[in-house]
């Protein structure tokens, strides 16, 4: 029994010491950043990494002293990818911690919180979403997208296709899921294709978890597109479609946007990944860029067990960079750090060099329309750039 008592005493002492330590560290002025993260639930494949990326960058910024005289405090909660819970979490965090910056788990949360975000909370709001609906300064003045929207990503791919025709007028098929995620860029993409002289020969809509894709592949075979662009999926059914297309002799290049552009899809496809392409707004873990090297070095120090970070981690990291850049600009202008000054600072970001993590960043309409087309390298099981950074005007 004696040992138990001693353990307790030790524990209490440790707790007290911790409390004292945190009290001492509170010398710098705190800037609180709250996040509603989809760590469990349907989005869990990315949620944990998004959270780690954002949290790590903010810790890195503190360590490097990127914001002079201020301490960034990161607070996060799991939302289970449920809009109502996410909104509840948002309100709870605002009441408990009154952060000046928030991070949201989904497009749905962005829409549901918008009326109160605009009228009461007035904090800078970034999120996992690339929805074009949130990159709308009129209805969502406090929201921004960490890079290009899905529409922009389609624009980048269509640009690439227009410059790399296979034979005659390029023909493209859109292959998307019947979700908000899947349908978001399609109307704009159709117009854009028309403007670029690209023919949309097929539009195929499926459920997210479609298993049997034979009919869809047969209609692809009939339409004979040069390029097929997937949208609204993560993994399934992309590998199934590509394999079945190969079996049926469909001679097309398959492309995707951000969420289907992680190493995971190459691993899943194996040799079938040959020729697979897509757009990613960011550089990859293995790329030789100063910002990525810094990220790898930080991971090596703090998480020595980590050998790879997916692109969702990089999105979180980059969102952290945007937050810090906005804060730095506000602090440099000697203004108080509030949602309003931060959102105004965001709009001043022009040709910002991110150290190669992405192209030069200019925020127009609360988004940065830049990205790069990558191609799978099956031998190395990585993505390699197929184009330079493409800027969408």
């Amino acid at each position: 029994m004696k040992t138990t008592k001693r353990t307790w005493r030790l524990a209490i002492a440790a707790l007290l010491a911790l409390g004292a330590a945190s009290a001492r560290a509170a010398g710098d002025e705190e800037i609180r950043i709250g996040a509603c993260q989809p760590i469990t639930g349907r989005f869990a494949f990315a949620g944990g990494q998004l959270n780690a990326g954002l949290g790590d960058y903010l810790a890195y910024a503190n360590e490097q002293g990127l914001v002079k005289g201020k301490k960034l405090v990161y607070i996060y909660e799991d939302t289970g990818y449920d809009t109502e819970r996410a909104v509840a979490t948002f309100k709870k965090m605002m009441a408990q911690h009154s952060p000046v910056i928030m991070y949201g788990e989904s497009t749905g949360q962005g829409k549901a919180i918008a009326p109160e975000l605009n009228s009461r909370y007035k904090v800078l709001y970034g999120s996992t979403s690339f929805s074009s609906e949130l990159a709308d300064p009129k209805n969502h003045p406090y929201s921004f997208v960490s890079g290009p929207t899905y529409s922009d990503q389609f624009g980048i791919l269509l640009d690439y296709i227009a410059k790399h025709p296979k034979k005659g007028k390029p023909k493209v098929a859109f292959f998307y899921s019947d979700t908000e995620f899947g349908k978001d860029p399609i109307p704009w993409a159709k117009e854009r294709a028309k403007a670029l002289g690209i023919e949309v020969v097929a539009e195929i809509v499926t459920k997210v978890a479609a298993v049997d894709v034979t009919t869809e592949v047969l209609s692809l075979k009939k339409a004979q597109p040069d390029y097929v662009i997937f949208q609204g999926y993560v993994l399934a059914p992309i590998p199934e479609v590509i394999r079945a297309a190969r079996d049926h002799g469909v001679d097309a290049t398959f492309m995707s946007t951000f969420w289907s552009m992680d190493k995971a899809i190459i691993d899943k496809l194996g040799p079938d990944a040959e020729g697979y392409m897509g757009v990613n707004p960011y550089a990859y873990w293995w790329d030789e860029a100063p910002a990525i090297a810094a990220m790898r070095a930080y991971n090596k120090k703090v998480h020595p067990e980590v050998t790879y970070r997916p692109n969702s981690y990089i999105q979180g990291w980059f969102t952290g960079m945007i937050y810090v850049e906005a804060i730095r600009r506000v602090v440099a202008a000697k203004k108080p750090v509030t949602g309003d000054t931060l959102k105004d600072a965001l709009a001043t970001i022009k040709d910002w060099d991110t150290g190669g993590l992405t192209g030069k960043v200019t925020f127009v309409s609360n988004k940065a329309a830049v990205g790069r087309v990558y191609k799978a390298n099956v031998q190395k099981a990585i993505f390699e750039p197929a184009s330079d950074w493409i800027y969408l005007k």
């Binding site: 760590i39 469990t40 944990g48 909660e77 799991d78 289970g80 809009t83 109502e84 819970r85 909104v87 509840a88 309100k91 709870k92 605002m94 009441a95 408990q96 749905g108 829409k111 549901a112 918008a114 009326p115 609906e133 019947d178 979700t179 908000e180 349908k183 978001d184």
Partner: protein
């Protein structure tokens, strides 16, 4: 202890809350509900609104499944119909909320009448599958009838207002939601003291006997579907004003299943149970989440396995209730009440 409880008139015998204790309990509950937003923070009020909205829907499902014995897996779809009808009424026709919300109820009611038709021929699990079809069909309509539903992006709505008073904060919405929920709970409790309500129960217990006693089976079942859908529609209508946006993704099949979980955990065929069940299913995951927040402070590294743990724990709690108290939370509450009825004397 409760003694000297004599009924001296039929009216007293028929009263919904028959004993002074029950009446005092009700008064205390109403007072607590009225005072709640004054002491609770915004977060708790928001959750209370969510519970209120879902409770109305769950009452509807309990009328259909718990009292009438017709299983439905399409309850979320009816809620969706109510939401869309209310949103369209407000945004297209400029209807105020006191027209838009009942319009949602009526629209769901009409849909319920149609979906209920197969119930005359099929029962049990077969009916569950038929209503599942309704869920899938309506979800598809929400997504694809873009002209009316706004497609995948849905419809944004303005806050409700009454005579210039805007229900634009959570506290104001709370009073609206709570009042409507209380009204519907009261109506549901009274329903089963009428001929219709008793007919529902008769159909549940043995439909053949009910028919022999002169209950028109077809009419009764359709009516159960309609009343149940009305509740779902009203819940949906309020949901729009609560969430300020309606999208097809708000009414997935999992919500229908969550509704079933609420009434099963709470107690099939009890009004109080429905309310307990709604509170349990909505708030316990939230409470577990708060617990993980505490754990997060102590050990940030353990989070990767602690986050999924709360779902497992929640599932285990539901299974535990079903095993140890198949009649649901309502029965546990009743047992506690019975214990205190004669307390401090032994039985």
């Amino acid at each position: 202890m409760r003694i000297g409880d004599f009924k001296e008139s039929y009216a007293a015998d028929e009263a919904l809350f028959r004993t002074p204790t029950a009446r005092a309990g009700l008064a205390a509950l109403l007072a607590a509900l009225a005072l709640f937003p004054l002491v609770a923070g915004e977060y708790l009020v928001y959750l209370a609104n969510l519970v209120g909205v879902l409770a109305i829907g769950a009452l509807g499902l309990n009328i259909l499944t718990g009292y009438t014995g017709q299983i439905s897996l399409g309850h979320a779809a009816f809620m969706g119909i109510g939401s869309y009808a209310a949103a369209v009424a407000q945004t297209r026709f400029g209807a105020p909320f006191w027209i838009a919300v009942p319009a949602g109820g009526l629209a769901a009611c009409a849909a319920g009448a149609v979906v209920g038709v197969p119930s005359l021929r099929i029962k049990g699990l077969y009916l569950a599958i038929a209503t599942l079809a309704a869920q899938v069909i309506f979800e598809w309509i929400f997504t694809n009838w873009t002209g009316v539903t706004g497609g995948i992006r849905g419809i944004n709505v303005a806050p409700a207002s009454l005579l210039g008073f805007r229900f634009d904060t959570d506290v104001r919405t709370y009073y609206l939601v709570t009042a409507v929920a209380a009204l519907h709970a009261y109506a549901a409790a009274n329903l089963f003291r009428t001929r219709i309500g008793r007919a529902f129960v008769a159909v549940r217990d043995r439909d053949l006997s009910a028919e022999l006693m002169g209950v028109n089976l077809f009419r009764t079942k359709i009516l159960a579907f309609m009343i149940s859908s009305w509740y779902a529609g009203i819940a949906g209508g309020l949901f729009v004003y609560f969430a300020k946006v309606v999208t097809p993704e708000s009414f997935p099949l999992t919500l229908s299943i969550q509704y079933l979980a609420m009434i099963i955990v709470g107690g099939l065929g009890t009004i109080q149970g429905t309310l307990y069940g709604t509170v349990f299913v909505t708030l316990v995951p939230e409470a577990l989440r708060s617990l993980t927040q505490v754990a997060q402070k102590i050990s940030p590294e353990a989070m990767s396995w602690f986050h999924p743990m709360k779902d497992i724990l929640f599932g285990a709690m539901i299974v535990g209730f079903l095993v140890f108290e198949p009649h649901g939370l309502a029965e546990i509450a009743n047992r506690i009440r019975r214990f205190f009825a004669l307390w401090p004397f032994p039985k």
